[in-house]
C-alpha cells in the first residue's frame, strides 16, 4: 500500500469501517511511513477532541419531567 491509497482510507480506518485485511495493510504502512503516521494521529486526535467537546450537553431536567408527564401521565 502506498501513501495515496493509505490516505484514501484515512477516516474509514479511524472509524473502524474497514475489513481486517485492509486495516492490517494500513497498519503496516503507518508503521513504516512517518508522515502518514503523523497525519493519522492528527486526525484521530481531532475526532477525539470533537467528541469530548460535544458530549457535555444532555436533555434538561424540565424536558424529562414534561416527557414523563405526557407519556405516562405523571
Amino acid at each position: 500500500m502506498n501513501c495515496r491509497e493509505c490516505e484514501e482510507h484515512l477516516y474509514e480506518f479511524l472509524d473502524k469501517e474497514l475489513t481486517p485485511e485492509t486495516e492490517r495493510q494500513i497498519r503496516g504502512h503507518l508503521a513504516d511511513c512517518e508522515p502518514c503516521g503523523e497525519h493519522f494521529d492528527f486526525e484521530g486526535m481531532f475526532l477525539r477532541f470533537l467528541r469530548a467537546r460535544c458530549r457535555a450537553q444532555g436533555a434538561p431536567q424540565e424536558l424529562k419531567r414534561r416527557l414523563l408527564h405526557d407519556l405516562f401521565g405523571e
Binding site: 497525519h39 494521529d41 492528527f42 470533537l50 450537553q57 444532555g58 436533555a59 405526557d70
Partner: protein, 193 residues
Amino acid sequence: MATPTPTPVDQKKRASFEQEALVHLDALYRVALRLTGNAADADDLVQETMLKAYRAWDQYEKGTNAKGWLLTILRNSFINEYRRRTRHPETVDVDTIEPFAVFGEVQEDDPQGAFFDQIVDDEVLKAIDELPVAFRETLVLSDVEGMSYQEIGKILGVPVGTVKSRLFRARQALQGKLYGYAVSMGYIKGSPA
C-alpha cells in the same frame, strides 16, 4: 378509550419503552440541538419524537437498534416540520465545497494539533452549527453519537458512499473553521482558512 387506565399491558409497554427508548434521551437531545440550533426547538423536536415513538412502539422490533430507530423518527420530524421554519433554505451545494487540509498547514509547527485544546466547547458547537445541514447531521451522528456509516445511511436515507464523502467534507470544513478561529485568536500562527 378516552382516558386509558394503566393495565398490565401498559405497564409492560412502559417498562420496555423506558428501558430501550428513554435511555437515549440525552443523545436525541444533543442531535436535536445541533439540527435546530436552539434549545426551545430542540425540546419540541425531542418531545414530538418520543410521543411518536411511544405511539409506534409496537412497530419497533424490541432489542434491535432503538437509538437508530428513534433518530430516524427525529430526523424525519425535523425535515418535515422544523427545517423550513428554523433555518433559511440552503442554497449551498455541499458537494462543491473545497476541503481545506489543516494538517498540511500545521504539520511543521504543531503536528499534534495542540492548538485545538485551547478551543472551548461553545466555539466548537458554534462552528458545527455553521455547517450546511447535510454536513452537520452526518458529522453529529458519527462524531458525537458514534453511529456506523451504515446506521447513518439508514437514518438519513442515503447510500454509505454518500455518508463517507459527506463525513470527509464535513470534518475538513469544520477543521478549517476551527483552524481559522485558532489563528484569529493567536492560538497558532498561520493564515486563517
